[in-house]
């Protein structure tokens, strides 16, 4: 009893004393500072970080009155770190975000103010014309332009020409159909080499098949249409590839496939441009071809296209300068540097032209593949599609549902996610 009495006494004391606090006045933040804090998410001590630092250095030289503070933030923690810091009033001026981050960050408002700035009032139409229109659209959510796109990323079909030559299989071509792909994959069956190595338990790798069989995953309004015809066939195919044909391993991580490919134990892989450097280091020969088309629908397999760009925090005390820096970091020079040094696919129209006719055929090939990709709608909860699709795949592979039920369940769930 006395313990309770003491506790109550203490609580009353605390609250009474807090009540003495003077009524709060908002702190004035009118003075624009000349310091910009930039959060980037490049991997520590990587070449990408170095290219970024070079660009920042050049900006500093051009704007000697501005001081730029660079902070590295773990990429996987971007969203949580940014939202927490924003709520605590410690947000940076500029932050590097992926489009998937924006679907999470873009919906957050604190006291009615969104966390990231709508960049439309900050940029002239001529400044925006420099970018490929699709990449600008890919950074828009609820009409607002939440970030300036700096790079895009996509997957394509990579193959090891030496393995194809050694086993006398004709190598992939841009006009291949899915049947050709599967035929080539099965041609390796007896050789001890995997024909095609992709993690088909991961929806990211199933999506290209889905788009070839059934077209877009989302309609023009951004609503899911997973139960449309064709998708179920694609899902059955991916199931068959894993369980009946045994063409691909059942890993739900890409690492296993990557290591097989890099050791010359897999002839083909569907992978991003960002791994080319690793394969080059592993000393294998890599060529690229567009993902194949569906023989009947004529639709090409389209992987997900992801964008990464720069957002301005609405907490920034010097938004014009932040926007200038964002423009600089997405500028043609910076993008060209990144393209040539780190194989980063550009968003600037003039740099895209360079990339399309690049001396490195892999870059040109990936740029061509970028025209055959799809983007997720920029809506709150979009990133849940991976969870939803993974669940559908899991239901299928554990025998709990047939493809149709799994997909219609996925569609219902996706709609529920959007409405939540």
């Amino acid at each position: 009893m006395r313990t309770v009495a003491v506790l109550i006494l203490w609580c009353i004391l605390t609250w009474a004393l807090t009540g003495c606090a003077p009524s709060e006045k908002p702190v004035s933040t009118d003075d624009a500072t000349n310091t910009l804090e930039v959060w980037h998410t490049y991997s520590a001590d990587s070449l990408e970080e170095e290219v970024f630092e070079t660009s920042i250095e050049a900006f500093r030289r051009q704007n000697p009155d501005m001081s730029v503070e660079v902070v590295r933030v773990p990429f996987s923690q971007t969203v949580m770190q940014f939202i927490t810091a924003s709520q605590g009033g410690e947000a940076p001026d500029l932050i590097r975000v992926a489009d998937s981050h924006l679907t999470q960050i873009g919906v957050v408002t604190v006291s009615g103010v969104p966390l990231v700035e709508d960049l439309r009032p900050h940029l002239t139409p001529q400044q925006l014309r420099r970018f490929q229109p699709l990449t600008i659209e890919g950074m828009r959510m609820d009409n607002a332009l939440l970030a300036l796109p700096a790079s895009q990323g996509t997957m394509s079909l990579l193959y090891n020409p030496d393995l194809f030559a050694a086993h006398q299989v004709s190598p992939p071509r841009d006009d291949w159909t899915i049947d050709d792909l599967l035929a080539a994959a099965s041609a390796f069956e007896e050789t001890g080499v995997d024909g095609l190595s992709i993690p088909l338990r991961w929806s990211l790798w199933v999506m290209p098949f889905l788009t070839a069989y059934g077209g877009d995953l989302f309609d023009a309004q951004g609503d899911p249409r997973f139960s449309a015809t064709g998708f179920a066939d694609a899902l059955s195919l991916s199931y068959a590839l894993e369980f009946d044909l045994g063409l691909v391993s059942s890993a739900n991580q890409i690492d296993a496939s990557k290591s097989k490919f890099s050791r010359g134990q897999a002839a083909m892989i569907i992978e991003g441009v960002w791994n080319l450097e690793d394969y080059r280091q592993a000393g294998i020969n890599v060529r690229q071809a567009l993902l194949p088309v569906h023989p009947d629908t004529g639709l090409r397999m389209r992987p997900l296209n992801t964008l990464i760009g720069w957002s301005v925090s609405s907490q920034s005390t010097n938004k014009p300068a932040s926007v200038d820096l964002a423009l600089w970091l997405t500028g043609a020079d910076t993008q060209r540097d990144a393209l040539n040094r780190t194989l980063t696919l550009p968003t600037d129209i003039s740099v895209i032209e360079d990339a399309e006719s690049h001396e490195n055929p892999l870059i040109a090939g990936f740029m061509a593949q970028a025209n055959h990709t799809f983007a997720l709608p920029m809506r709150r909860g979009t990133q849940q599609i991976f969870l939803v699709m993974d669940t559908a795949i899991e239901l299928l592979s554990s025998g709990k549902a047939d493809p149709e039920t799994a997909l219609s369940g996925a569609e219902t769930e996706m709609r529920a996610v959007f409405e939540r």
Binding site: W10, P26, G89, T109, I136, N143, S250, A256, V323, S398
Partner: protein, 486 residues
């Protein structure tokens, strides 16, 4: 003659008609600029143009002294193009009173007959005067008409997210400090009056720890509890309103509750059991002083504790892949983390791997404290090892085991890293359901950061908190009944 005049008249007519039609282009292109106050805003100023004589293929250019060419709107055939609402367009522009058309690249275009254009000029320096001039340019870039330069102004009003005011928290912390000091002094006085002079300095010893603890955790936990009664959601942070017990209702009604609750319980009990039994077993074996290489063994067995958990968990994740080390050793291709049952077993075993060393360490210390005389006597009496353990070791360890197992229970219940890093709660076997390996804390994380439902996540947290508190009270009472703990 008359024929000639007629021909001449018709010629003049045709020429003048032509002059009106084509020469209109030559003479009648004009552009007038004026301010459109209603479109002026932060970094934006409104411009109104009255235009005439536009031709397809040409474009309207707006130049400012801050950017040079600011906007270039092509004149095109707008048939079939849609007018995009101004709030949806990249730049808010109206032609002849309605939002401008946009082409397939989302760029604004106007038709040849456009007479007026009103645009919000974006990207200007806030709070400055800007010189603006509009022009009509043909396909070769030749200037066809130009307005006079006008000066427009932008606003400074900016919608900025103001950092939260920390002063109330400062006062709260201050009052916590003061009231704690007052409280501890009161308690001291109380104790002295009660005649407990011997312990009168106790509060001085405990004081710093209590102050540090309460100062740092009182506000966060109170805030967390308060949050659970609100509709706090990432879409309106800082504007949440009190909704009573609704969140708790949602939690209790949610279809995932039984699954998550059950797995959390199994996960915790199995883990604590494994920690205690394996820790005890290893501690018993290592307790033998004559054992060769005892220190080497012990150092190795302590490794899981010394290596940061997130590293070893990531290593296990790599090893449990279908092509990972475990499968290589077994010559199998099992997808341990991909199937529900095996994933559940895997996360539990990995967590056991992480937790056993701490238990082993603490128990071997406690075991050393048991007087060896008892074992010697038992040996002489021919008591079997098992009976020695049951009747000597275990009863003596009980006072250590009770708090240790309680701590282990709480830690395991709230063990976020292992599951999050290994499976992220997956595999998921139902839409909108928690994953097969989701325990309460990992699910709370998803609710908070994936769904942004802070109120609901807080309600889950409070439920976890209450469960653990009541369990601990029950456990401590129960064990206190049998022996004097604390």
């Amino acid at each position: 003659m008359s024929r000639f005049w007629i021909s001449l008249r018709s010629f003049i007519l045709i020429v003048s008609l032509l002059a009106v039609l084509s020469g209109g282009a030559a003479y009648a292109q004009s552009v007038e600029a004026s301010s459109a106050e209603d479109l002026t805003d932060y970094r934006r100023t409104g411009l109104e143009l009255s235009l005439s004589g536009l031709q397809e293929g040409w474009s309207v250019e707006i130049r400012t002294d801050q950017h040079g060419v600011h906007t270039r709107i092509p004149v095109k055939d707008v048939f079939g193009l849609t007018r995009l609402p101004a709030e949806a367009a990249l730049q808010a522009c109206f032609s002849d009173g309605a939002p401008v058309h946009v082409d397939t690249d989302q760029q604004s275009v106007i038709g040849a007959g456009t007479q007026s254009l009103r645009c919000a000029l974006t990207g200007l320096r806030p709070g400055t005067d800007v010189a603006v001039q509009a022009a009509i340019v043909d396909e070769t870039g030749t200037l066809r008409a130009q307005s006079s330069e006008i000066r427009l102004r932008t606003d400074v009003s900016d919608l900025r997210l103001t950092p939260p005011d920390t002063r109330p928290i400062l006062y709260l912390l201050g009052s916590i400090l003061i009231s704690l000091v007052l409280l501890l002094s009161a308690l001291r006085w109380w104790d002295i009056r009660r005649g407990n002079l011997k312990s009168r300095n106790a509060y001085l010893y405990v004081g710093p720890a209590i102050v540090a603890l309460v100062l740092l955790t009182f506000y966060p936990i109170t805030y967390g509890i308060w949050l659970s009664f609100t509709d706090a959601n990432q879409t309106h942070l800082g504007q949440s309103s009190f909704i009573g017990l609704e969140n708790f209702g949602t939690v209790l009604m949610s279809s995932g509750l039984v699954q998550v609750g059950l797995f959390t319980l199994i996960w915790t009990v199995v883990n604590v059991f494994l920690h205690v039994t394996l820790g005890l077993l290893l501690a018993l074996v290592l307790n033998r002083e004559t054992l060769f290489g005892r220190n080497v063994y012990r150092t190795i067995l302590l490794l899981p504790w010394a290596v940061p958990a997130y590293i070893s968990v990531l290593a296990w994740q790599g090893m449990l892949q279908p092509e990972g080390l475990v499968n290589q050793f077994l010559g199998a291709e099992a997808n341990f983390l991909g199937e529900a049952t095996s994933a559940r077993i895997s996360v539990t075993l990995v967590n056991a791997w992480l937790g056993v060393p701490f238990m082993m360490m603490s128990l071997s210390g406690a075991m050393k404290a048991i007087s060896t005389d008892m074992f010697e006597a038992a040996d002489l009496d021919g008591v079997s090892r098992w009976n020695q353990f049951r009747h000597i070791t275990f009863p003596n360890l009980k006072t250590t085991l009770v708090p240790l197992s309680l701590l282990s229970f709480i830690w395991t219940f709230n063990m976020f890293n292992t599951i999050y890093l290994l499976t992220r709660g997956g595999p998921y076997l139902g839409f909108g359901q928690p994953g097969a390996t989701d325990i309460m804390v990992t699910y709370i994380y998803d609710v908070a950061f994936e769904y942004g439902d802070y109120g609901l996540a807080a309600a889950w947290s409070v439920i976890v908190f209450l469960l653990l508190v009541s369990f601990s009270i029950f456990y401590v009472r129960q064990t206190r009944a049998t022996e004097a703990v604390t």
